[in-house]
Subunit: 226 residues, 2 copies
């Protein structure tokens, strides 16, 4: 299943980059080390100059791939959502029981990435941490509406819509499928963040995971309830 991705390529909206980083060694190095450097120093302190130093390359060369660090972040988040969408589709495709399908879907979108699938230069475990810490910054900007029109958030919206469809199939009369789907996806990241930095205001610790929390929630909300 996972091996499929060594053949398939995760595709990111092409307007996000100037030159596709997948098409060259330098491009792949930029992606690989931007993930590592973002994890190390955070988005606010991250610069192309520092990244250049890390990979023994010039700042100006990186600018030929991405016009700003914001675009690079958009690239990484889009890649992550595409990767997650792929897993959601693969892992739920053949499940016919709608309740089981929903349960699996929640598991896929709320679980912490803990294993690097190693088929590429992208370390998914670290990328997941960057998603938890930085992904909100990719859309919480003054340019969001323009960028949305350009299609930068298509993959994310498609992922939410897929989860909404699975929810609605499991419970057709539920009114808030989209809101529930978007809440689960963002909420799981937030719970993961709280666990790390504000453990006093989450129950996701001591063996309890965001998956447990949201599975319990959705089960009670949609399946058990009257």
């Amino acid at each position: 299943m996972k091996e499929l991705l060594s053949v398939l390529k995760i595709s990111v909206p092409s307007k996000i980059y100037i030159k596709d980083p997948e098409t060259s060694e330098l491009g792949k190095k930029i992606i690989k080390h931007s993930i590592l450097l973002l994890q190390e120093i955070g988005f606010e302190n991250f610069t192309f100059k520092k990244l250049g130093a890390k990979i023994g390359s010039n700042e100006s060369s990186i600018y030929r791939y991405f016009e700003s660090k914001h675009k690079l972040l958009l690239y990484l988040t889009s890649w992550y959502w595409a990767w997650l969408e792929y897993q959601l589709v693969i892992e739920t495709f053949s499940i016919s029981d709608k309740k089981n399908k929903l349960e699996k879907a929640i598991e896929v979108v709320t679980r912490e990435t803990k294993e690097d699938s190693k088929y590429s230069h992208i370390n998914e475990v670290i990328l997941y941490k960057i998603i938890v810490n930085e992904s909100s910054k990719s859309f919480l900007t003054k340019e969001v509406d323009v960028e949305n029109k350009e299609g930068y958030f298509e993959i994310y919206k498609r992922l939410v819509t897929r989860l909404q469809q699975i929810i609605t199939e499991a419970k057709p009369d539920y009114k808030y499928g989209f809101s529930l789907a978007s809440t689960i996806i963002e909420g799981a990241l937030h719970q993961c963040y709280l666990k790390e930095h504000f453990p006093t205001i989450t129950d996701c610790k001591d063996g309890e995971t965001p998956t447990d929390f949201f599975n319990d929630l959705v089960l009670k909300l949609l399946i058990d309830g009257k």
Copy 2:
């Protein structure tokens, strides 16, 4: 009820500022116009120089109140959470029925601020919009653990804990009171953001509000369920 606040002062952890902006005219002007300017140009484009120009004051004078724009954002978010906590306490205090109390609590923490209470220089309607757009940036930084130790997020954590208490009182055997409380508070802001910028992935439109969504959710989850 609202008039109480013209006597009481909302108090923000004193380590956040260098000089308390409430103690001078310039300080109040800084707060008032930082809210307006943040709304206008967003946190990334906001600078003390621009704020100085707006209020006819010097950049260096503003630095005497806040050591950075990040600290100013922390001030504004803390102020907002304190204000919300105040409302939560006042509006739920005298409700003895636990279900009603929970319902009111959810209403308070999920409703959009639409009215400026006018007892001060702070425009709560615009501040609410800033919270929706920018509040995540106050904690999604590399310095979060240090700042948390300094107590910068105490009010926020206390607010979540208050909601958790009300949840747990209404349903003592529910395991995820903290996670539910933190999810509701962040989730309501997120739904408000989606409504504005990504309406295709939320149901909060056409008269449906985040309050409706979360009330329905909590009711089914905690009250109706088996």
